[in-house]
Amino acid sequence: MSRIVPYDPSAPLPRKPGHTSRGRLERVLRRGEFAVTAELNPPDSADPEDVYERAAVFEGWVDGINATDGSGANCHMSSMGICALLSRIGFATVMQISCRDHNRIAIQGNVLGGAAMGVANFLCLTGDGVQAGDQPDAKPVFDLDSISLLNTLRTMRDESRFLSGRKITTPPQIFIGGAINPFAPPYDYRPLRLAKKIAAGAQFVQSQYCYDIPMLERYMDRVRDLGLHRQCYILIGVGPLASARAARWIRSNVPGVHIPDPIIERLEGATDQKREGKRICIDLIQQIREIEGIAGVHMMAYRQEELVAEIVHDSGILKGRQPWHRGMDTDPETALEEVLEEVQST
């Protein structure tokens, strides 16, 4: 069947058998490609151009853009707003939902709204405590937690009903994700926690920043023993450190980030610390890629987003593959499939 209408980048892709969403990220992962996602630093403004500018540096380099939901408990443009703007022009977005700011009524409504706008991927997070951000006097909601949130989204998608049991006439077609942190105690429980997230509905997970490969390897050994890497796509979080000073600050001020001393020493020993930070990031990605059971990386280059393209290029993880960018007059994979279907039907 050939297309009659011109290619509309914001339209969901045709649904493939076995897929739960109509987005590009799920396709890339299910094909077994090494996926790359990146986190967009949300603007403190109401100007859509700010979002487009920040997304432009990722274009053609990543398979999904994460829109954070008040990360670090600071106010920014909402993940819903960012996803609306980006999905409108064809970007694959990962809409983050944090349990800190919304109760179950708001969250379920947002999932329907997001999915209706073309968001195919949702990331279920607990969220940082309000104390971490610029509004420590806010009321923390935490009506759900990350795992009951995963379960809620899966119920909505697979059973076409809200938590209350009330019917959803058209369920959201979504790819559901969670977060993992192999670098925080209790270390021996962390793989089981991933198992629990999978049991609750996680199809992919993105991890906290990884700067400690041996620790990640120990975690992944256990994950493979449990067979979890076959039930869920695991994307490891990485990001360049701007300087040794920044690394120290992150280590003591951002919850859940573990940066071992040798990394900081390596930064300190360099003449150009920013460049060395990028080099470390590339080295880490190349080591992560070699670990069995890892499906991709999640780039969190906070305030250094312009480095993402270089890092992805220099690390060679795409192996010549080019993720979607504007101006592709059709989605390459869809076009190929249509040709194949025509061949098969004749």
């Binding site: 405590g129 104390q131 971490a132 420590p136 859940g256």
Partner: protein, 181 residues
């Protein structure tokens, strides 16, 4: 720009800290196996008294039982009377003491020393829960996916609810067994 005071415990000043040390709560986690046995024993007694509760009316005994429960569990676990007790699934560490109220496991912010992200001088209730669960016979229940809290049950007795539910289940099973040939 306001000074960002990262991770100073909000609503938990030094006075509250002094008032609620974690000693007893931590003792309970260390003795999770014993408390699990004690609870099983005690739950059977409550179930045995089900005819009495029913005769008096569950609604009428709610208040006195709740008061006892609040004192006992408040002392042992710093219980917050969520009304849907999951202590036997969480290593005898009450998840409602987590500043985020997480009922399904630790968040990613646990500090390297095992303390809470939000309250730096408090041991993470989920690190405790994991260690407590390792001693318990039903320790693997920590993997049960807990549904979201039902806010409407806050402040009610979960002992009585668990007893009523168990009695109903057993009656249903008996009725089902009687129907079978």
């Amino acid at each position: 720009m306001p000074r960002i005071t990262a991770y100073e415990p909000a609503g938990a000043g030094p006075v509250r800290r002094l008032r609620s040390p974690f000693t007893i709560r931590q003792w309970s986690v260390r003795h999770a196996r014993f408390l699990e046995r004690l609870y099983t024993f005690f739950a059977d007694i409550l179930l045995g008294l089900h005819p009495l509760w029913r005769a008096l009316g569950y609604g009428r005994v709610e208040r006195p039982v709740k008061s006892v429960e609040q004192v006992v569990k408040g002392f042992l676990f710093d219980c917050r009377m969520c009304g849907q007790c999951v202590l036997s699934d969480t290593g005898m560490s009450c998840p409602m003491n987590c500043p985020k109220g997480l009922r399904n496991g630790p968040c990613g912010g646990v500090r390297a020393n095992g303390n809470c992200e939000v309250e730096p001088d408090m041991p993470c209730v989920w690190v405790e829960a994991w260690s407590g669960s390792r001693q318990m016979a039903g320790g693997d229940h920590i993997q049960n996916v807990q549904p979201p809290l039902r806010q409407s049950l806050r402040g009610t007795s979960s002992w009585l609810r668990a007893t009523a539910e168990r009695a109903a289940r057993e009656e249903a099973a008996r009725a089902g067994g009687a129907d079978a040939p």
